[in-house]
Symmetry: C2
Subunit: 427 residues, 2 copies
């Protein structure tokens, strides 16, 4: 049996995603397709444009059979943590093949690089330290260290290594690393992306980036947006907007952050993961800035990339302590959270239900019952960690819905009131 | 030498305040007039309409000689804590006479009642418990217990006790209690208020309430507002608005509170003062409400008054722990903070400087130097408590300015950059 796995954010689901989904199916020819998707906060360190169940519905309508939630403790991490959480989730539900998009389809190169990341040979470590010492950010120092290392150790790959720096390629390498580290039997496939780079902010017609599409929607340019995404996908967003649930943009958290950061001291920041090398002091000093833009540029330096700072901003909010993130990356997600399925996905799920070794949570409000049953079934889960991870997903939903424009919509925003999406008509 | 002391909020300074100030001077005939004023957050549990230095300037223009800040740990407390902090501050600077407004000028009655509050005779305690048991809020239970107690113990006052319930009278009683408790030699005078009750929301012409005036300004009805307050006082507000500093209304904290409360658990609330009798659970459950109005009415019950809840909302924000509030009420303010003075006030201050027994802070950024000198001079201050109180004033300023509409104004909002007001022309 072939089970295709995809790691997605669908923020929102657009033509590029459709192409990736269809082409992945062509490569793997799966019996069932599973996507693990970021919840209400995505890896760029931003709220998603619409909430997770709406985005899961869009995925189901386009041919995904089962949509799982990537817990927020992973979705707001760097490429490494994001990949760890995603691959682990897919592995737990028996995915046989994962297809990821990248700027290159040179999977041999990516595998070679991921091996370096896992083994961390002494020479590589020295190179990494050297580049970090000159003040580079971690992603850049790593890129240069990998380049130098491959140049000396593997002449055959040497001329191809320059490609590895782009963010999608780094994610690909991290997927490969995660697959090896958790000893998954999953087969990785790499697929060349189409259309605009995902950070490209310009509208590029049919294959515009998610960033550009969000901007179109923000500016009310629905006509242009409709060219960039399946009709059903846009309809879902428009329905969400009519119901007062979003759209939520990164600007909508601005005033909260400005006020919130002014209440925190250096000691507060230090309690959370990633506030190292003086970032606690920088956050505290920059909290006097009057805009998020000003804040980000005040904190930013050669050493700290903007996207890292954007993600870190959420760590005090969702209380990502050192302990939480370290244990999450070491032990993986402690539950599978269903966002939606079609009949095929439902059937698949009930078939594997008894062979998974972490609890599957469909109705959030019943999570404690599910966990108790899992303990009776002697699943090896860390209940404290499970609760810590899951409660942060709940908090993320409550916080996300507090950003809605209308009090009535805000008031209904709770994961405990939510129902998973069942998509009736299959494609 | 006569030193008149006033406890004020001037939110904003209006004709009623002017009347109170002039009439107080007539009663006491002082050499110098000192006001202790709430900073950026007032006792109703709201941000002030404009920041403290602007309000201090208004006071100086109308004839106050010296304006001191009531630390936020007192300004956001109930009548008891508010009075304790205010009276203690006035006593520290040698105030000989305090005049407070009340609905009655029956100071004998108020003294009798304050004695009951200090001594808490057993019979009174029983009556208080009885009324609390029936579910009344503390202010109401206290009112009924005092009434019953006075009825049986002091027949002469019996028919006058009904008056004691109104909030200004309760404040008056608390001032008297504080004076007795800290063994101050200050002479209290009570003065009947003029014009509208301070919670009256309607515009009542010349003597409108501060609440009504804030609403006029909020609605842009500057013409009507100008009838209710001295011209200079309105000019200051208009200048502040032109500079982008305010006006700040209670609605401006709404979205922050809605988001912030969703991040807190019952355990979080329990760390702060006043979250007793299930208020932690109520706050947590009600955080799902979509508006502040909805939240307040969700938390409210016969037992908890709206104004108590409004104040409590700020306790997790400013971290008013049990320990902080208890020690603050036991030891009093640990510093005198100057907001402004005229020449007379400045001279007075330099005369008493060597006889006060807590440090006087004029330039906030130099606070540590002032404290070090005070310790050398062997002042008996609790430095930990001083720092805890003062840092909350700093936080209050940072948080307050984050509520401004324009990023440029928000960015300058720090107590450490502020300068006290020196008012040149005297009246």
């Amino acid at each position: 049996m072939k089970v295709l796995g995809l790691v997605v954010e669908y923020n929102p689901f657009h033509n590029g995603h459709f192409y990736h989904l269809s082409h992945s199916k062509e490569i793997v020819n799966p019996d069932v397709t599973v996507a693990v998707m970021s919840g209400n906060f995505v890896q760029r360190g931003e709220p998603a444009i619409v909430e997770k169940f709406a985005r899961a519905k869009a995925a189901l309508e386009q041919g995904v059979d089962l949509v799982l939630e990537l817990p927020v403790v992973y979705s707001l991490q760097d490429a490494g943590g994001f990949a760890t959480g995603s691959i682990w989730t897919l592995d737990h539900v028996g995915v046989t093949d994962v297809v990821f998009g990248s700027e290159t389809d040179d999977i041999d190169l990516m595998k070679a690089v991921s091996k370096v990341l896992i083994k961390e040979p002494e020479h590589y470590q020295d190179l990494l330290k050297k580049h970090l010492k000159t003040g580079h950010s971690f992603p850049n120092a790593r890129k240069y260290a990998l380049r130098d290392f491959i140049h000396t150790e593997n002449a055959a790959l040497s001329h191809r290594i320059e490609e590895i720096g782009s963010s999608n390629n780094i994610l690909g390498v991290e997927y490969l690393r995660a697959i090896q580290e958790i000893k998954s039997k999953m087969i990785p496939h790499s697929m060349r992306r189409v259309g605009a780079s995902y950070t490209d902010e310009e509208h590029r017609g049919e294959f515009s980036s998610a960033t550009a599409i969000r901007r179109l929607i923000q500016n009310g340019n629905i006509e242009s947006a409709s060219q960039t995404m399946p009709k059903e996908s846009l309809d879902i967003i428009l329905r969400e907007i009519r119901c007062g649930r979003g759209p939520v943009f990164k600007e909508d958290v601005e005033s909260f952050f400005i006020s919130f950061f002014r209440l925190l001291s250096r000691e507060d920041y230090c309690r959370y993961y990633g506030f190292v090398e003086g970032l606690d002091a920088r956050f505290q000093e920059c909290s006097i800035e009057g805009s998020l833009e000003g804040f980000l540029h005040c904190v930013k330096s050669k050493r700290f990339t903007l996207s890292r700072i954007r993600r870190l901003m959420y760590y005090p909010i969702f209380r990502f302590t050192d302990d939480l993130i370290r244990r999450s990356n070491e032990l993986g997600p402690q539950y599978i959270r269903i966002l939606g399925f079609n009949e095929k996905g439902r059937t698949y799920l009930s078939n594997i239900k008894h062979s998974t070794n972490i609890p599957i949570i469909a109705t959030a409000s019943l999570w404690r019952k599910v966990v108790d049953k899992s303990l009776k079934d002697e699943m090896k889960i860390d209940v404290d960690l499970l609760e810590a991870q899951l409660k942060r997903d709940f908090t993320a939903v409550r916080f996300y819905s507090s950003l809605y424009k209308y009090p009535e919509s805000r008031a209904r925003g709770s994961d405990l009131l939510s129902q998973i999406v069942y998509h009736r008509q299959e494609r």
